[in-house]
């Protein structure tokens, strides 16, 4: 009797678990199918038809949008802006973030206040950030030009967002201001888990601080380092808000990235198929990088736990 009930119970339990599991997962699957998978499949469809937003049966045009993509000089210009954005916009917050986190590491008094202040820009809406930095960059009354004039560097004062050569870097600086707090807080929490005895032992053995950073501290926070790298790299491909708000891709396309170029094609020029193809390019470029870095991060964290 007891044997049958024991062998029966897991099956009953398993059935009950499966029943509840299916019920609990229905809402998320409906949302994923309707608001993600169907539009995603439609994105592939839009890229091979000539859709003008009205015609319910748009003509099939094959790979014409993809051919256009490879010969469009504006795509290459946008892509190179994306690359600048990714390289500068990834390295700067990570380097600044690590340095500030190292500074904060041994601070006891006021450490919470510093953390709150540094993290604050990260949670502010991009629209507000764009507006305020637009004032800072204002050619006449802007804070930046006022400071430059006050310290005798008035020659450098300019319309930061209006000149094609500097506009992208001006917006980038804003993005770095907004994003570095995230790196600081994450690195600080990783540093709190670093084995301090190892660092002290290295100091006694005569390792200087760059050596300690490179050989002792960095290896221990590597998984977190790669995770921040992944997030900022992938974010660099799909950057949109801050550029759209501050320059709209201008002046004359100088700050266009794939995101703003796709948006203006689809919603301002009514090239819906082409805009969608551009958006697909963002995915094709960013997803493999995300997967590779994620694998690497997992490998490193596993090594970390086994060591």
């Amino acid at each position: 009797m007891s044997i049958t009930s024991r062998s029966l119970a897991p099956t009953v339990t398993r059935r009950a678990q499966a029943r509840l599991g299916v019920v609990l997962v229905i809402p998320v699957m409906i949302m994923v199918v309707v608001f993600f998978l169907i539009p995603l499949v439609n994105a592939l469809y839009f890229s091979v038809v000539d859709f003008n937003g009205i015609n319910p049966n748009p003509p099939f045009i094959g790979l014409a949008n993809f051919e256009r993509l490879f010969t469009d000089p504006k795509v290459w210009a946008a892509l190179s802006n994306n690359l600048i954005w990714i390289v500068v916009g990834t390295i700067s917050p990570m380097v600044i973030g690590l340095l500030v986190a190292m500074l904060l590491w041994s601070v006891q008094r006021g450490s919470v206040i510093y953390r709150v202040v540094f993290f604050l820009p990260y949670i502010l809406p991009g629209v507000a950030i764009g507006i305020v930095w637009g004032w800072i960059y204002d050619p006449v009354n802007g804070l930046l030009n006022q400071i430059l004039r006050a310290v005798g560097l008035g020659d450098l004062a300019r319309g930061w967002l209006g000149e094609p050569d500097v506009a992208l870097y001006a917006v980038l600086l804003t993005a770095i201001w907004a994003g570095t707090g995230f790196a600081i807080v994450i690195f600080l929490s990783a540093l709190r888990n670093v084995d301090v005895e190892l660092v002290d032992a290295a100091r006694i053995d005569g390792a200087n601080s760059p050596q300690r950073l490179w050989h002792i501290i960095l290896p221990q926070i590597m998984p977190v380092f790669i995770m921040v790298l992944t997030l900022t790299l992938v974010g660099g491909f799909s950057v949109f808000d801050i550029i759209f708000i501050m320059t709209g891709g201008g002046p004359a396309g100088a700050t266009d990235v794939l995101g703003t170029y796709a948006y203006s094609n689809a919603f301002q020029l009514n090239n819906i198929g082409y805009g969608t193809t551009l958006a697909l390019l963002i995915t094709v470029l960013s997803v493999p990088i995300a997967i590779v870095l994620n694998r690497l991060q997992r490998k490193l964290s596993l090594q970390g736990t086994s060591a």
Binding site: L20, L24, N42, A43, R115, I129
Partner: protein, 287 residues
């Protein structure tokens, strides 16, 4: 005696103290640079309109609430604030509810095909919103959801559930197996195990997800820009953007509108700073 000579040989400040002071000086300078833009918003908001016209960005040179009043009434920021609440509160609730249910399933309730479903959910984390935002526009239009509150709420919800499910799954996976087994021996149904035993133990996770999602949806700009085009349900972010396009010279009310947009976020962050930063950290690490 020996002690005092030893002390006398030392410099006035120990090197440790010097580096510690230097550290604070550097950090304070960084903190000021970080805060300047926020201070600029507050200062410009609180100027008199006449002062804004002459000297828009000089700090705290006059005081008036006129800009706030103008933004609130003429600038329609009272409407935008209401719309932000109407969009953010339901979508945040939906994200947390749906993600908690799905996270529990993917952590604890195996059934055939579950892994495949999980891959579809995770795919949503990998593919940028950009890729399908254009087809989604036409899909919402054909469903009659374009330019409606329910439509925008559902899209905002959908942008959060992949991360939310992943996040909650990690919390449920951490709970010990013995908990549900002993509850089962006591005769609890699977539903009771979920609601009475497991849910109370992931409160911190649900709290972090709530704050995180609230901030993300409050700050979301692209969803209202694309899917609420007529402006009847425009939230603060989209309203602020439209305001810059309409009359770019009205710096005073624009500053006030910016302050109205960021103030709830800042207050929430300061009140719950531990949960917010902890939520972002564990979200990044678990994700």
């Amino acid at each position: 005696m020996t002690l005092s000579t030893h002390k006398a040989q030392k410099p006035m400040l120990s090197p440790k103290k010097v580096t510690q002071t230097l550290r604070h000086v550097l950090l304070i300078v960084m903190a000021i640079v970080t805060l300047i833009p926020v201070v600029l918003v507050i200062s410009t908001t609180l100027k008199t309109p006449a002062d804004v016209r002459v000297n828009p960005f000089g700090l705290f040179t006059s005081f008036s609430l006129q800009n706030l009043i103008d933004a609130w009434t003429v600038g329609r920021f009272s409407d935008y604030l209401l719309n932000s609440i109407l969009l953010t509160v339901p979508s945040t609730f939906l994200v947390v509810a749906i993600s908690t249910m799905a996270g529990y399933t993917f952590a604890r309730l195996p059934f055939r095909g579950r892994t495949l479903l999980f891959y579809f959910v995770v795919l949503g984390l990998l593919v940028p919103f950009f890729t399908f935002m254009i087809p989604l526009y036409f899909q919402l239009r054909s469903l009659g959801l374009l330019d409606t509150l329910p439509g925008a709420i559902l899209v905002l919800t959908s942008t959060g559930i992949s991360f939310g499910t992943f996040f909650m799954r990690a919390f449920f996976s951490d709970l010990p197996m013995e908990l549900e087994q002993s509850a089962r021996v006591d005769g609890a149904s699977e539903w009771q195990i979920f609601t009475k035993v497991m849910l109370p133990l992931v409160g911190s996770g649900m709290g972090a997800l709530t704050v995180f999602t609230f901030l993300a949806n409050w700050n979301n700009f692209l969803v209202p820009l694309l899917y609420l085009p007529s402006g009847d349900f425009r939230p603060l972010t989209a309203g602020l953007y439209m305001f810059t396009g309409g009359r770019s010279l009205d710096v005073g009310p624009l500053a006030a509108g910016t302050l109205i947009t960021i103030l709830p976020v800042i207050v929430l962050f300061i009140l719950l700073q531990r949960q917010v930063t902890q939520g972002f950290i564990s979200g990044a690490i678990k994700g």
